[in-house]
Amino acid sequence: MENLGQIAMQNINMAAIMPSVVLSCFGMLLLLVSVFSKRGRTTHVAWMSIVALVVTAAVTVSSWNNPQEGFAGSVVLDNFAIFFSMIFIIAALLTILISDGYLRREGYPVGEYYPLILFCTAGAMWMASGTDLMTIFLGLEVLSVSLYVLAGFFRGDVRSNEAGLKYFFLGAFSTGFLLYGVALLYGVTGSTKIAAIAQHVSEMPAVIDNPMMIAGSVLLLIGFLFKVGAVPFHMWTPDVYQGAPTPVTAFMSAGPKAAALAALLRVAIIGLGSIQADISALFWLLAVLTMIAGNFIALSQTNIKRMLAYSSIAHAGYALVGIVAWNQIGLSAILFYMLVYTFMNIGAFAVLVLAGKKGEENLTLEGFAGFGYKRPFLGVAMCIFLFALMGLPPTAGFAGKFFVFAGAVKAGYIWLAVIGVLNSAVSLYYYLRVIVYMYFRDPKEDFAWVKLEIPAVVSILLAIVGVLALGIVPGPVMELAKLAGF
């Protein structure tokens, strides 16, 4: 008992959680800063959070190829975690860049917004780097709770309230299932550590026929699928995405989705590799349903924000295809895809952020009529992002889809790939419709309210660079994604 401290100290390996620690510390610092800031002044908080993210990025990257394990095997900062962490950081960075002006426009210049994003990012990092279900769960909760708050951030706006509440209730509900799954898995394997679960299964192969094991695994995965937004656990997505403040939606659609996928991948591939066949079969179906639901419903949307929400469901479907493939290409492809998706989706939302009036009642297709002529830069940017979302070369969206489907084809899931590409064909329609309104319709409005704020423009430019660079030379990043695979 007396050497308790010593044991604890031995276990600790701060390097393994350095990025999240840095981020959390900055978060706390920023909380203080915002407390002592003049009300309504948040820009400096935004810039500081950007500094925080940049520092974190540097810290994160420095561990590349140098996996750090720590805290008694409850966390590991391996390439996988680093890759995903970078995705979160990029997502957060792009989001913060577009947030400041937006918050002021909508009348909520609250400094706490930024620390919440940072905490959320930190939570995502724990999800990606957690090797213990407990860590992952707590990371998930940090992420979720901050997102509940962020989604309902516009407390005077009913729709934001509603988004927050829906997200909260359904999130908590799904947490129940996730936890029940963890409990069952714990019962079967005696541990909540992913490695231990895997080891237990390999020692007792018979356990894979144990209903508890299967039910536990499935419930656990369902918990993550909820966050990913896969059918039939996707129902919250459109409502929440629509109601939440747009930058939050942008962030939510990229960062947390990637985090959930990260956790899902680590749990599934490392912990539950033994029931791969079952998981692949399940995910095959879910991927198909997700793609179909997302794409088909998006067709009839007139609110662009909501349409992008459905499209994000569809994209989750594409990502799941990579898991079905269950091979190295599929895995790397998911990593790559999430990165690409971060760029293109946040980019698209960034354009929406700039194009919206206060209250964002104008983010409909009709409201976008002639936008491309009046705001050429944003129009072109939106086109690039939409083409990327469609998956057209030479944007990164194409490369991402290509890799994902390549994984599926290599694993022999040709029909899945076919369904996938047909779904992308369906998706063309609603993405094109935005372009139709932007360019093929005569402008009704002058879009005079659209101000090209520098940070948001920087964000859009970064996204464009990301989308095009990853599209034209996907090689290096894909190589990194490959190294990040298990």
Partner: protein, 519 residues
């Protein structure tokens, strides 16, 4: 220099586009001249290709460039692998040749957002050239899809009344097909990788040598064929074409007809046929049937059109039927005929669209009934129109004849004899619909007072048409210029196909065909 000639040609328009973006948008004259300059220079630097005699000697790929592009360990290798042979040579030349003409045709026609149009035009040129020179399936696919974007905007922004429907239809039709092809492309790659065959990424030449198992070939072929059939377009996947053509601005229609449609036929020649020779055997009768049906169909429907542009669009369906029939004959004449016919169609139908554009610019209508008696008012126009009409009909001495004839010779020599007989009726229908249209537009008295004041062609318009007329007669009278350089390439291609078609299963022929068979 010669080592990078193809790249230079391909990316020169893109570089031009980059520079064009810095030209102020108000300076429309400069924008147009600049775009024209870029396309002209592209044409000029592509000229050495046409004069290179190596194509007359060797059927292999020339001007090869090979750079590793994307290489992800054991996953993929995509290479920047380009080159041309005698077949793609002419399509490249056609592209570089048509583009300045198309650019010139926009002088009066495009008045809004000139900068955007010119930028898209140049982007499109790069995409098309890229698709023709790619020897890597992945690279090809990228250019193939890239083509959609500029064309989509061209139709959608500068198009006619119904442009949105047409643009979206065009886009989705084409994309659906190509997406399936993408799956097939990936499959081939992994199949190749699994056999351990030596391969250079998605290099199509390496894939040629691959013996893909029959069962897989079938669906792979279908995926490719479907994609290309949409682009060609073959009956019954053609319905996007009339809409797209009708709505597109003149330059768009010209490019669409002259070059973009060739992507489909070229795709068959370069990819679908040599990659899957066995599957081809199975589907040959079906495809031949569709080609022939397309000829008749396109002609009959064209006959009844009251919109000049739509008529020309449907005539494209018929013309491309000949191309496809020639290609499916799988012999020297047929293939050569198909390829010549591709060029012909580019020249003649491109010219027809220009012609329609000329009168559209003057009268802002394309309804045949609005016209009549134009020959009085516009004699030069009438003459050029007449020549192009007869070229389209396939009068000997013009280009149309050489292509159709060779395609038919090939088809008669092959098992597709009976299809060819039916296809030959196409020559009748072509005369019917073209001449009827010509008569209604040009002959008779000027009944519509609005036509009284029509001006004859301007110098610019004549300059646009002259090169096309030159090729109408050049190909018609001395096609050997072209044939001699595609000969070795076709021969090599056919050997490639024939060597893989080991167990030749005779397609079932009608009884009468067997009786005709010589003992």
């Amino acid at each position: 220099m010669a080592d990078y000639l193809l790249s230079l040609i391909t990316f020169f328009p893109l570089m031009g586009m980059m520079i064009l973006l810095f030209i102020p948008r108000d300076n429309e004259g400069l924008l147009k001249s600049f775009a024209l300059g870029v396309t002209l220079v592209t044409f000029l630097i592509s000229l050495p290709l046409a004069f290179d005699d190596v194509f007359a000697v060797s059927g292999g790929m020339q001007y090869r460039e090979f750079h590793e592009w994307i290489s992800i360990g054991s996953f993929f290798k995509m290479n920047y692998n380009i080159g041309i042979d005698g077949i793609s040579l002419w399509l490249v030349m056609l592209t570089t040749f048509i583009m300045p003409i198309a650019t010139l045709s926009t002088w009066k026609a495009v008045d809004k957002n000139v900068k955007g149009f010119m930028a898209l035009l140049l982007l499109l040129e790069t995409a098309m050239l890229g698709a023709f020179v790619s020897l890597d399936l992945f690279l090809f696919y990228i250019f193939w899809e890239l083509m959609l974007i500029p064309m989509y905007f061209m139709i959608g922004i500068w198009g006619g009344k119904n442009r949105i429907y047409a643009a979206v239809k065009f886009f989705i039709f084409t994309a659906v097909g190509s997406l399936l092809m993408l799956v097939a492309i990936i499959y081939i790659y992994y199949y190749a990788a699994s056999t351990g065959a030596p391969m250079e990424g998605f290099g199509v030449q390496e894939f040629y040598r691959l013996g893909i198992p029959s069962a897989a070939q079938h669906w792979l072929f279908l995926a490719f064929a479907f994609s290309f059939a949409i682009k060609v377009p073959m009956f019954p996947l053609h319905t996007w074409l009339p809409d797209a053509h009708t709505e597109a601005p003149t330059a768009g229609s010209v490019i669409l007809a002259a070059i973009l449609l060739k992507m489909g036929t070229y795709g068959y020649v370069r990819f679908a046929i040599p990659l899957f020779p066995e599957a081809l055997q199975t589907y040959l009768p079906l495809l031949a049937f569709l080609s022939v049906f397309g000829i008749i169909y396109g002609s009959l429907v064209a006959m009844m059109q009251d919109d000049v542009k739509k008529l020309v669009a449907y005539s494209s369906v018929a013309h491309l039927g000949f191309v496809m029939l020639g290609i499916f004959a799988l012999n020297m004449q047929g293939m050569a005929g198909g390829i010549i016919q591709m060029i012909n169609h580019g020249v003649s139908t491109g010219a027809l669209f220009l012609i329609v554009g000329f009168i559209y610019e003057r009268r802002h209508t394309r309804q045949i009934s609005e016209f009549g008696g134009l020959a009085h008012k516009m004699p030069i126009f009438a003459t050029i129109f007449l020549i192009i009409t007869f070229s389209s009909i396939g009068l000997p001495g013009t280009n149309g004849f050489v292509g159709e004839f060779l395609a038919l010779v090939g088809a008669f020599e092959s098992e597709l004899r009976w299809y060819a007989v039916v296809a030959t009726t196409g020559v009748i229908f072509a005369a019917v619909y073209m001449l009827w249209m010509f008569q209604r537009v040009m002959f008779g008295k000027v009944t519509n007072p609005e036509n009284e004041k029509l001006k004859d062609l301007s110098v610019r318009e004549i300059v646009i048409m002259l090169p096309l007329l030159l090729f109408v007669f050049w190909i018609g009278i001395y096609p050997n210029t072209f044939l001699s350089k595609m000969n070795p390439a076709i021969e090599q291609l056919l050997n490639q196909v024939k060597s893989k078609q080991v167990a030749v299963v005779e397609p079932v022929q009608p009884v009468i065909a067997q009786t005709l068979e010589l003992k």
